[in-house]
Structure formats: C-alpha cells, structure tokens
C-alpha cells in the first residue's frame, strides 16, 4: 500500500489577538504501510503541529488527512509518544501500560491483556510490572511508554522527539530497542526530530520542511534497510553522505531565516 496515510494540501493557521499566523502551507506527502518516516526542519517550523493534525487533536484549516483513504476521526486509534515518557508516577508499570485499554473499556478484554503481557515479556519488563516508574531506568521507562502506546494496536505511531530527553548513550541503545520493537510489531511510524543522525539511522524516508510557513522542501529516501540496527547503520559508508545532503538542505533554510 503506497498511500497508507496521506496529507493532501494541508494548511493550518494559528490565531492570536494580534495576528493570524500561517504555520503550515500546503503540506503534501504520504506514508507507506510499515514505513518509518522522519520529519526534520528548522526549529519552530510546525513539526509537532503536523503530528497533532494526524492525531486529530487539531483540525486543519485547509486540506485533508486521510488514513487508508478515509478521513481521520475520533475513533481512529493513533499512538502518540512524546519527548518525555509521561508515565504516571502513581501507577505501577502494569497499570500504566494498560491505561489506554482502561480508557477504552478494554482493560478486562482477555485478548488485549494477553497481548500486553506478551509485549511486557518480550521486551523485558514483565518482572517490573508491579514496580513504579521511578524505580526504572530511562530506557526502560521509554520502552514501557512504547508498550502503553502499542497496547491499543494503533494504526499509526507518532513520535514527537521521543529520544531527546535521554542522554546520548541511553539514546543510542533506546533507539535500537525502539527500532526493534517497531519492526517486530510492524508499525507505521511518523517521527519528528531535530537530530539528523537519529533520523537517518531510524528512517526509511526523511521529509525536510522549510521555515514557517512550512512547506515540504525535500524528501530523501534512505536505503539502509539491509543493515538491521540503527547503531550499525551509523557505521555505514553512505551514512555521512545522507547527513551532508540533509544538512545542506537544512542549513540553507537556516540562512534564509537570518536574512
């Protein structure tokens, strides 16, 4: 399926008392099923806004967002992960992970619970299911947050700089973990990041946005799928070439910003 998720001429304006700000200007791109797509762009260009639109938390001012050729509505299950894991400190890991099921009245649904148990076992958190978040390391917390999102079997997974709050070493290993989980569970992912290396090592495709009002500037296919883990991909000889390409596109934008 080539057009699993489509953004068609999506635009969005913010309204403040003083003015109207056009944040997104005719954004068009599509995501294939099981693809990992990263969005990079100058800071403040509205990357997170795109995710909010796809999640249905915001309505576009123009254009449409289609999932399997249908507009996204309240009943579409979408997984959303943030910069911080946002595990609830007053809940055990298990209670955190089934939060989404609870909200949708599925916390007693046998099939869903078995799935969650499976995920916890597979990704090394089952022994910690009765622990509280503060007892876990940063990497484990991020994994728990991912399982919480996957428990609802989302049609699409949105990652909003999910690794930026981690220190560099943890980040590298968590990237590997998360990549492995996402590949195993056959998730379609749209990630927003400001870290070019992370984007290249994780993604199948990278979308570069312009300054505000953002347009799609450039889309780069990344052909590193033969190499399994993001960490190993960083060692590949074409990795720096991709980096240069994207860096150039981005730094052109930054210069225009200065002008």
């Amino acid at each position: 399926m080539d057009n699993y998720l489509q953004l068609k001429d999506v635009s969005l304006s913010y309204h403040t008392k003083e003015k109207e700000v056009l944040a997104l200007d005719n954004i068009t791109f599509s995501v294939k099923k099981n693809e990992y797509l990263s969005i990079v762009g100058p800071s403040g260009c509205g990357k997170t806004t795109i995710l909010s639109l796809i999640a249905g938390l915001l309505k576009p001012s123009g254009g449409e967002v289609l999932l399997e050729n249908k507009p996204i509505d309240k009943n579409t299950t979408i997984g959303y992960m943030f910069q911080r894991d946002h595990l609830f400190e007053w809940r055990t890991i298990y209670k955190n992970v089934i939060l989404g099921l609870e909200l949708n009245g599925k916390s007693k649904d046998k099939e869903s619970i078995e799935r969650v148990d499976d995920l916890l076992k597979k990704y090394g958190l089952y022994d910690f299911k009765n622990s509280y978040p503060y007892q876990l390391s940063g990497g484990m917390r991020q994994r728990a947050a991912l399982i919480r999102t996957l428990a609802l079997q989302p049609k699409i997974l949105l990652l909003d700089e999910p690794f930026s709050a981690l220190d560099y070493q943890t980040k590298l290993s968590v990237c590997d973990d998360v990549h492995q989980i996402i590949t195993n569970e056959k998730q379609t992912v749209i990630a927003v990041t400001h870290d070019i290396s992370e984007a290249i090592s994780m993604s199948d495709r990278i979308v570069v946005l312009t300054n505000r009002p953002s347009k799609v500037k450039y889309i780069q296919d990344i052909k590193l799928q033969d190499i399994k883990t993001p960490l190993k991909r960083r060692e590949s000889t074409i990795f720096p070439k991709y980096f240069d390409l994207i860096w150039k596109e981005l730094s052109n934008e930054k210069k225009e910003e200065v002008k």
Binding site: S52, A55, L57, K74, N75, T77, I78, G79, Y80, F82, Q83, R84, H86, F88, W90, L99, G100, E102, L103, N104, L152, L158
Partner: protein
C-alpha cells in the same frame, strides 16, 4: 528489598558518616528540649519570685492546676469537644467544597473567566468582616462558627487546587486525548491523582486555617468552646484560664497536623 545490613559491612568512613548524622540529630533534639525547659523554667521562676506579676502572665504551675481543676469538673472536655467538633466539621466541609468548586472551575474555562473577579475579591476580603452578616443569616451559635471556619478555608482551598489542576502537563493531557479519553477520564485518571501532593499541602494549611476560623467564630458568638473560654477568661481577668485554653489549643492543633501527616504517609505508600 530490605535495606537492613549489618554494621560490620560498612567501611570505617561510612560508619563515621552514619555516626555524624546520628550525633547531629541528637544535638538538635537536645537543643529543642532545652529551649522548651528554659522557657517554662524561667517563666515559673520569674513569676514565683514575683519579678513578673503572675496575675498578668499566669505561670506554668497555675496553668497546670487550672487544667487539672477544669478537667476534674468536666468542663474542659466539654469545651474541647465543642471546639473540636466545629473545627473538624468546618475543616472537612471546607476542603470538600473548595475542591469541588475547583473542579467546576477547571472544567469550564468560561465559568472560570466569569467568576475570576469575584474570587479575587472574596480572597482579599477579611472574612471576619462578614461575622455580623453570618450571625444574622444562620443564627448565633455553632452553625455560625462552622460557617466562619468554612469561609476562612474555602477560598484558599479552591485557589490552590485550581492552580494545581491547571498546571498539569499539557503533553500528559494530549496523551490522554490521543488514547481517546473523555473529560471525565482526564479528570479522574490524570488531573486528580496528579494533584494529590497539592491536596495534602492544602490539608495541612487547612488544619491551621480551620482553627483560626473556629476560634474567630467563637470569639464572635459562642457559649462554649476553647475560644469562648479565652474570651471569657480575658473579660474577667482570669489569665490562668486564657493561658490554659491556649495550651490546649496548641496541643490539639499539633495533634491534628500529625494525623494529617500520618494519613499522607499511609496513602503515599500505596
């Protein structure tokens, strides 16, 4: 996991460190006790030798005698009971109502904006000024005192809880929404548990405030209670009675504060 280990396992340096902590703690406690004893001792000494007039200052021994006397004739417990009843009822009602109003204001931005100036005025107003109005509206006696107590506590409860509700991380709310949560679920599964810490501090503030409210209420209208004893004692120049009632008040307020502390620790463990 039990953290009990034998002392032998520690290095000499660590043992020294532990000892230092212990010594620090003990010296602080000793100093606190010494200050208490010094104040009581000096007070007793200066009044017993008539350097200071016990008629105006009372004295520890006279307070003790007064307490024993009023306890024996049953009056003390009666007055304590009245005041305790008013304080606890006021405390519970004010905390519950205040939190409930905070929830309503959190729920509706519109309502919050509309009521904002009224809340500001109500917060700034010295509630004691409403005393005469309260007496006329709810009648002199226990209901008036409880109303006063509620008025004193409720505004601060509402404001503290509301600001805590509103300070909840926006991303956490977005997370709940992205998982399909409705407003009730956001309230009960996120906002309320997230504000539990603030709720406990409000309880602690209200312990103090509800005593203020009750005693003020009793100053205005009462025929019984510790506030009544204090006012009565002042009017007939029985400073022993005034001081004794104050001591009991101190003790009760401390007790209530400690109880809230115990409740906090119990709930936090779960």
């Amino acid at each position: 996991m039990k953290k009990k280990r034998k002392l032998n396992n520690y290095s000499l340096e660590h043992k020294k460190y532990l000892k230092k902590i212990k010594v620090d703690k003990t010296t602080t406690l000793i100093a606190q006790i010494l200050i208490f004893c010094a104040i009581i001792g000096l007070w007793e000494l200066l009044t017993a030798t008539k350097v200071l007039d016990p008629f105006f200052l009372s004295s520890p021994s006279r307070i003790f005698v007064t307490l024993v006397d009023t306890f024996k004739n049953g009056n003390l417990l009666y007055h304590i009971g009245i005041t305790l009843y008013e304080t606890i009822v006021g405390f519970i009602l004010a905390t519950a109502l205040g939190t409930f109003i905070a929830i309503l204001l959190w729920w509706s931005n519109k309502l919050r904006n509309i009521l904002d100036p009224y809340i500001v005025v109500l917060n700034a107003l010295p509630k004691i000024a409403l005393g005469p109005v309260i007496i006329i509206w709810v009648g002199a006696g226990t209901p008036a005192i409880i109303t006063m107590c509620i008025l004193i506590c409720i505004v601060i409860t509402t404001l503290s809880m509301l600001s805590s509700f509103l300070s909840c991380d926006k991303d956490k709310i977005a997370l709940m929404k992205s998982m399909g949560a409705n407003k009730f679920q956001i309230l009960f599964k996120l906002i309320l548990p997230n504000s539990f810490g603030e709720f406990v501090s409000v309880l602690k503030i209200n312990v103090g405030m509800s005593w203020v409210g009750t005693i003020m209420g009793e100053y205005l209208v009462s025929k019984a209670g510790l506030g009544y004893l204090i006012v009565y004692g002042g009017q007939v120049f029985k400073l022993d009675l005034v001081m004794s009632s104050t001591v009991v008040l101190c003790f009760l307020a401390c007790l209530m504060y400690i109880l809230v502390g115990i409740l906090e620790r119990k709930v936090k463990r779960h």
